[in-house]
């Protein structure tokens, strides 16, 4: 009996040290495929995550933002590279991104912006109105973007109970409570 209690205590103490992947599929209804949904672990009470020193890069290539959707941790600086032989601009109409406008710059140059708040910021180019991209600034570093088939994997999520959210550029957001214990499956269905 004494031995059993000792084992149980060891498990309780060691629990936060365990982590697993959260994986699953997001079925996106009414759009061409299930790509570009961002699945992320919402704010964890009592936990904060320092902004990474490393910048994230978004390319403007072949008149497109690449990647189309980029999740980052709040505080991350994003470098916008112009790889095209034409001028590009980057601006956002969203207040949570200070409605930034980085001006216009030629091929090979980079301009940067630091996303300081929780935000799903649309990226637009005044020179080419059809271009559209998104930076989703999130409170935790546990996030992933779905592939065309809707599959995703969030690596190394500590075991525990979390609110897992899904954001999509065109569809309604969704949330689910997920108990992570090692490899954990969580699937979603979202629509307009």
């Amino acid at each position: 009996m004494k031995r059993l209690i000792m084992i149980a205590i060891a498990f309780i103490v060691a629990a936060p040290l365990f982590a697993g992947d959260v994986h699953g599929k997001v079925a996106c209804k009414g759009v061409r495929n299930s790509a570009d949904a961002v699945v992320y672990v919402d704010t964890i009470a009592g936990k904060s995550f320092p902004a990474p020193a490393e910048h994230v890069k978004i390319d403007q290539k072949n008149m497109q933002f690449v990647p189309h959707v980029q999740p980052v941790l709040i505080g991350t600086t994003v470098d916008f590279l112009n790889s095209d032989a034409v001028l590009h601009n980057v601006f956002s109409p969203d207040a949570c991104a200070d409605k930034f406008n980085l001006g216009t710059w030629p091929q090979g140059q980079i301009k940067s912006y630091t996303f300081k708040k929780f935000c799903a910021a649309a990226l637009l180019c005044k020179v080419h109105p059809e271009m559209e991209g998104f930076v989703v600034a999130l409170p935790t570093p546990y996030f992933a973007v779905t592939a065309a088939d809707g599959s995703y994997t969030i690596k190394n999520v500590p075991d525990g109970a979390y609110a897992v959210n899904v954001w999509h550029p065109k569809l309604k957001a969704a949330q689910k409570s997920v108990n992570v214990a090692g490899a954990t499956e969580a699937s979603f269905e979202i629509a307009k």
Partner: protein, 462 residues
């Protein structure tokens, strides 16, 4: 005199029929939509161009699928502005898109026309004419962004006399769901078949879909109307107009239009004077799919042409033909001009679908106030004439590739010295493919059994 007049009337009846055959109100069915959605013609058609209930909803939705989603549009459109620009309007142009493919389609029609008519001497004249091709229609149709759609049709037809005609039959731009609930307020501008008659989409199964007694009756004559070669005055098949239309509560359809009057103006304008004609129609559909495609609480069979429904409506047209002279020779041999000063049309419409059977009918009553002017411009007479016409048609799907149609028409013209004009039209359509149709059609003037026509038509749409 009476016999000669009667023969002339019969001849004009056949002439009218021939004109209608050459210039039928065309359908809004085009393979450009099939390409856009990568779907068969049968999605929207009982057999092209006759629409099934879903196709009618597609048409009334401004050539969009009911509750259309992005993934239904298989050929990705070309963006003219990303969605986020909506939030920037009016500081930026509202975002839109254009089709990612060339949204055009062709319709080629070949006809073999065998006609027997009485000429003005009473002799029977028969013709057997290979009209290969009779006409080619170039269509373009599609949508711009969320709230605009368009349809264009240019028809090139070859006449039996060796000449040819090219006409813009449709050039219409729709503004869809511009106010209030979805589908409630739409605006259409351009040249098109007005929705008060375009909505008789049931008639499109047969070749002779112009329905002579409805569209081709000429109400103007010395003693009232007496012939069928005056297309455009009784009910215009095409108008240059602005039309508001919509669907409320899934089942109530309305349309209101303002259009140019009859005839071209003397000064090179499209209108004979500054006044405009107006028209309206209100329908209600009981049972079956909603007019906007709604299927809430409705159980529909998998065969998408079938349902059990009844659509009933009223329609009206008020016209002003003042200033547009139509020359006549009166009984004394003098040249006179007649103007259809004011005219009104009122009608009832019903369409009943019971599984494979579709029976539909329109009854129309018209009144024309005719002013007669002497050559010097003095008005010599004013008189009102009333005419009544109706038709009933039954279409039946024997098998999806084999469909039949039978129609009876009746017209009591304004000129009471002329008897009723009656006609029978029977046709059998066979679909070799969804886009290749042959029709065997028989049209008989019930006044004189020597007046008849047999048409064999091949239509290809691609």
């Amino acid at each position: 005199m009476t016999i000669l007049r009667s023969r002339l009337i019969l001849f004009s009846f056949l002439l009218g029929f021939g004109l209608v055959l050459l210039n039928v109100p065309t359908a809004s069915a085009i393979p450009a939509f099939a390409r856009k959605y990568e779907t068969s013609c049968q999605t929207c058609h009982v057999g092209f161009p006759k629409l099934n209930p879903f196709g009618e909803a597609f048409r009334l939705n401004g050539y969009r699928m009911p509750k259309e989603t992005e993934d239904q549009v298989k050929i990705k459109p070309v963006s003219l502005g990303s969605d986020a620009y909506k939030r920037l309007w009016p500081r930026a142009i509202y975002p839109s898109d254009i089709p990612g493919h060339l949204p055009v389609a062709l319709n080629v029609k070949f006809a073999s026309v065998y006609a027997s008519t009485l000429d003005d001497t009473g002799r029977t004249v028969t013709k057997n004419d290979f009209q290969f091709p009779q006409e080619v229609n170039l269509f373009a149709g599609g949508t711009f962004g969320d709230h605009m759609s368009y349809l264009v049709e240019v028809t090139h037809s070859e006449r039996p006399d060796g000449g040819s005609d090219t006409e813009i039959e449709h050039a219409q731009l729709h503004l869809n769901s511009i106010w209030g609930p979805e589908h409630l307020v739409n605006v259409k501008i351009g040249k098109f078949a007005p929705d008060f008659a375009d909505g008789f989409q049931e008639m499109w199964l047969s070749t002779n879909n112009g329905i002579d007694t409805l569209f081709s009756y000429d109400p103007v004559g010395l003693h009232g109307g007496n012939s069928l070669d005056g297309g455009g005055i009784s009910l215009p098949a095409n108008v240059r107009a602005i039309e508001v239309y919509g669907v409320s509560h899934h089942r109530l359809f309305y349309t209101l239009g303002i259009t140019n009057g009859i005839g071209p103006g003397a000064s090179g304008s499209f209108n004979a004077h500054a006044n405009k004609d107006v028209y309206a129609r209100v329908d209600y559909k009981l049972g079956g799919m909603g007019l906007d495609g709604d299927t809430t609480g409705v159980k529909l069979p998998p065969e998408n042409w079938r349902e059990r429904s009844l659509r009933v409506g009223v329609l009206g047209y008020a016209g002003d033909g003042k200033g547009f002279n139509m020359p006549f020779t009166d009984d004394t041999g003098a040249q006179v001009n007649i103007q259809d000063r004011t005219f009104t049309r009122g009608g009832l419409y019903a369409s009943w679908i019971f599984e494979d059977l579709n029976v539909f009918a329109v009854a129309l009553s018209g009144r024309d106030r005719l002013d007669t002017f002497a050559a010097d411009g003095t008005r010599t007479n004013t008189a009102s004439y009333r005419y009544n016409s109706w038709f009933v048609q039954a279409d039946y799907v024997f098998l999806p590739p084999l469909q039949g149609s039978l129609r009876y028409e009746n017209l009591k013209p304004g000129d009471k010295s002329v008897g009723s004009m009656r006609a029978l039209n029977a046709s059998l359509a066979f679909f070799a493919y969804a886009n290749v149709k042959t029709i065997l059609e028989y049209h008989r003037d019930l006044h004189n059994t020597k007046n008849y026509e047999v048409d064999t038509v091949l239509r290809v749409a691609f």
